[in-house]
Amino acid sequence: MTGYMRVAQAVISREFLRFIHQRERFLAALVRPLVWLLVFAAGFRAALGLSIMPPYETYITYETYVVPGLCAMVLLFNGMQSSLSLVYDRETGSMRILLTSPFPRWWLLMTRLFGATIISVIQVYAFLAIAAMFGIDMPPLGYVAVLPGLVLGGMMLGSLGLVLSSVIRQLENFAGVMNFVIFPMFFLSSALYPLWKMAESSPLLKEICALNPFTHAVELIRFLLYLKMDWLALAVVVGSTVVLSALAVWAYDPSRGLMFRKV
């Protein structure tokens, strides 16, 4: 095994160990989408009539509609939480240990990102399993097909978190991330309502939703769950991941000095 793989393995297994030690975090990550699914969606079922639209071939319940959006929500929250923990790592110093490894910084950051993504994906599957127990299930093969979409979506949102972590100075600013990143991204997307529904009330908002990369992550997951492919969504998610992770590596470049600069 080369040194690169050893580094990757160590960083990823550290993420696992931390995950195992933080059961509350896991529970919170699970309870959040379940509340949306079992309370919010049930309440909204009557209010929102859905027509037949791709990838669905029959009428579906609102609960079925929101499942992909809630999968993406798990990825979104975890991506941001992971950025929060990076800020924490920086304050406690374990980020220093990671970054003084002789291996290239982009490799260190990308393995960290990948490790965090795997943890998120596990949580998505736990959510899907519970949803299935409540009778909200997908085609069996869809659970397999969605895996690459979840990994890609997780990488995209995780790299957004990395970029944010390079500009957030202190832990307290997480409330700001909630207000200015998580909520707008989530509500201005196709997670809770299809875009044509949004267009009925505001064409402008619909355009904003269509530009939101999070919408495309949701749609990619939605189509893959039904064994179909949304090529536009795939292109946007891959493109955003590349741009955001390049930006993160740039922001963490020591000669830019964004990282360990005193305020």
């Binding site: 050893r6 580094v7 160590a10 550290r14 160990l17 110093g93 490894s101 002789p102 020591p254």
Partner: protein, 239 residues
């Protein structure tokens, strides 16, 4: 290679504020070099630059013969660091922490395992390897961080105020241990603001307001004066 660490004309600015002003010094091979400076002298900035957490365009840093800017991988591989902030994962065990670090330096599991056992034996902490770091006291944590910094057998060891928050016994133990390491050939740079950690045979650098204001062998430099008095006079005079 005569010097473990060579710094030439190193300057660094935070925005318009000059934190380091054309700093030059050497850490002779196998020496214990104490970098003494009051709070705010620029020690932390210097440490960040030496570990490549920050990069400056002015000046050069050579670690064990490798230029940090041109060959960062080889320079960092030759450098062991103990940071001022605690950098252990409190929820992981002693052994897990050490394995994580060894892998970050590309060591194989088997190789790391041998080295970890050896260093735990040296610290008399073998039986605590399975305990979470959270259960260790401050002195033990620091010794562990020192052991960790040595796992990849660096030829240069840098410690940034490593005794902060330790009691007198732990302080003496770690200071003594690092002096032994220097005797064994490791080039040590030890930053501190406490004069009682510096021995007469150590090399001394005094950093004040981002400049090196004195350097040489401690015994000669202080010239019969008490080191504490000499240091205070020196840093007040330059102020």
């Amino acid at each position: 290679m005569e010097f473990g660490l060579t710094v030439r004309d190193l300057s660094f600015r935070y925005g318009r504020k000059l934190a380091l002003d054309s700093v030059s010094f050497d850490v002779p091979r196998g020496s214990f070099t104490a970098l003494l400076g009051p709070n705010g002298a620029g020690k932390s900035t210097l440490v960040a630059l030496l570990t490549r957490l920050l990069v400056s365009r002015e000046g050069s840093i050579v670690v064990a013969g490798h230029d940090l800017a041109r060959a960062p991988r080889r320079s960092l591989a030759a450098l062991g660091v103990v940071f001022q902030q605690p950098t252990l994962d409190l929820d992981l065990t002693v052994r897990q922490n050490l394995f994580y670090f060894a892998a970050l330096h590309g060591l194989s599991r088997r190789d790391a395992s041998v080295r970890i056992d050896r260093s735990l034996d040296r610290l008399g902490m073998r039986e605590r390897a399975g305990e979470k770091v959270r259960a260790l006291n401050g002195g033990h944590r620091r010794r562990m961080e020192l052991a960790r910094a040595l796992l990849h057998e660096p030829s240069v060891l840098m410690l940034d105020e490593p005794t902060v928050g330790l009691d007198a016994a732990a302080r003496r133990a770690i200071t003594g241990h690092v002096h032994d390491l220097a005797d064994q050939g490791v080039s040590v740079l030890w930053t501190t603001h406490l004069t009682d950690e510096v021995e007469d045979s150590d090399q001394l650098l005094v950093l004040h307001k981002g400049r090196i204001v004195a350097s040489g062998q401690t015994g000669e430099v202080r010239g019969g004066q008490d080191l504490q008095d000499w240091f205070l006079a020196r840093t007040e005079e330059a102020a």
